[in-house]
Amino acid sequence: MSIVFACAASHAPGITAWTEAAPKEQADKIIGSYHRLQGMLDATRPDVLLAISVEHWANFFLNHMPTFCIGRADHYYGPVEEWLRIAKRRIPGDAQLSAQLLDHCLESGFDLSYSDELLFDHATMLPIHFLTPRMEIPVVPLILNTLTPPMPSPKRCHTLGRVLGAALEKESKRVAIVATGGLSHWPGEAKHGKINIPFDKRFLDILTTGDRSQLAQYTHEEISREAGSGGHEIRTWITLAGALPDWKATVLAYEPVVPWATGCGVVAFSRP
């Protein structure tokens, strides 16, 4: 029993950067759910936190854009944003587990990139801030390209999840996993502020009660059209679902928060 905790949650920067702009009831539900996740994580005493995450030009540009990049460092720094209202910190890494996962993926047909130096932006930093506020649990970041096409297909991400899940179940360390991003949002675009509630709810329904193999059937075009450029981040959730096929997913909160311009979801997973 090596995966001890798992969750998926949105990382809308407004959650910390402009908390007060949101209706209090909505903000309380999202932040309250993050606090619930923290309590659940604490109770499982994890040795390490795998963050299945994304980034927004903090580390990578178009001169070299990795499809999947695992951090292999002893520590990371973040957040890059001055305005996030999360203090800049040094976060410990687990280079040994990073290297093990990298080897396992290469042997299993996934040619991940790796980096020995990564900065964390709000995508990784915001969930860590809530889940491990003392920032003492080592983090292994896995960055998916959901920023600029072509991106890994949802199907490919789901399969990567299966490969990671298999490796982590054999791991002697107690591993917590967080998938971060989504749900529907169109950040910085002409449609900024749009939220597709039916899309978000259908995605959560599939995750919680439906046939999860449907998650691998999403297409890039459908996500672009229905969930926005920011919606492509659901690939991290799909990766996590691939890793934990039998775990039950429970929605702790879903709020379409217009001032944060994001359909915000917080989901906890539990072992059957």
């Binding site: 927004h56 030009w57 903090a58 540009f61 178009l62 001169n63 920023l147 600029t148 950040p187 910085g188 675009e189 002409a190 449609k191 900024h192 502020g193 450029s229």
Partner: protein, 84 residues
């Protein structure tokens, strides 16, 4: 059209403090260091948000670039009104 060079310029200003200072000190000289069309260079120099967006600059490069110039949310939204 060289969207890559235009986005590279913006990425450098957004992410590198030294480059940002060079840009602030003399925007025209900084911009001339990139291989841009006249339209791209003018749009960058004039902070023509609408044109930069229509040229294809990624929204998560463009918005931080405009934040460096302290463009409020309302003005940014107005600049993109009616697009997409």
């Amino acid at each position: 059209m060289s969207l890559y060079e235009l986005q590279k310029l913006i990425y450098h200003v957004n992410r590198d403090e030294t480059q940002r200072e060079r840009y602030r000190h003399d925007p025209a000289a900084f911009i001339s260091g990139y291989d841009l069309t006249e339209r791209e260079a003018s749009a960058a120099l004039d902070l023509d948000i609408r044109t930069l967006y229509m040229l294809g600059v990624h929204s998560l490069l463009l918005r931080p670039f405009t934040l460096i110039h302290k463009v409020p949310n309302e003005d940014y939204a107005k600049a993109l009104a009616g697009l997409d």
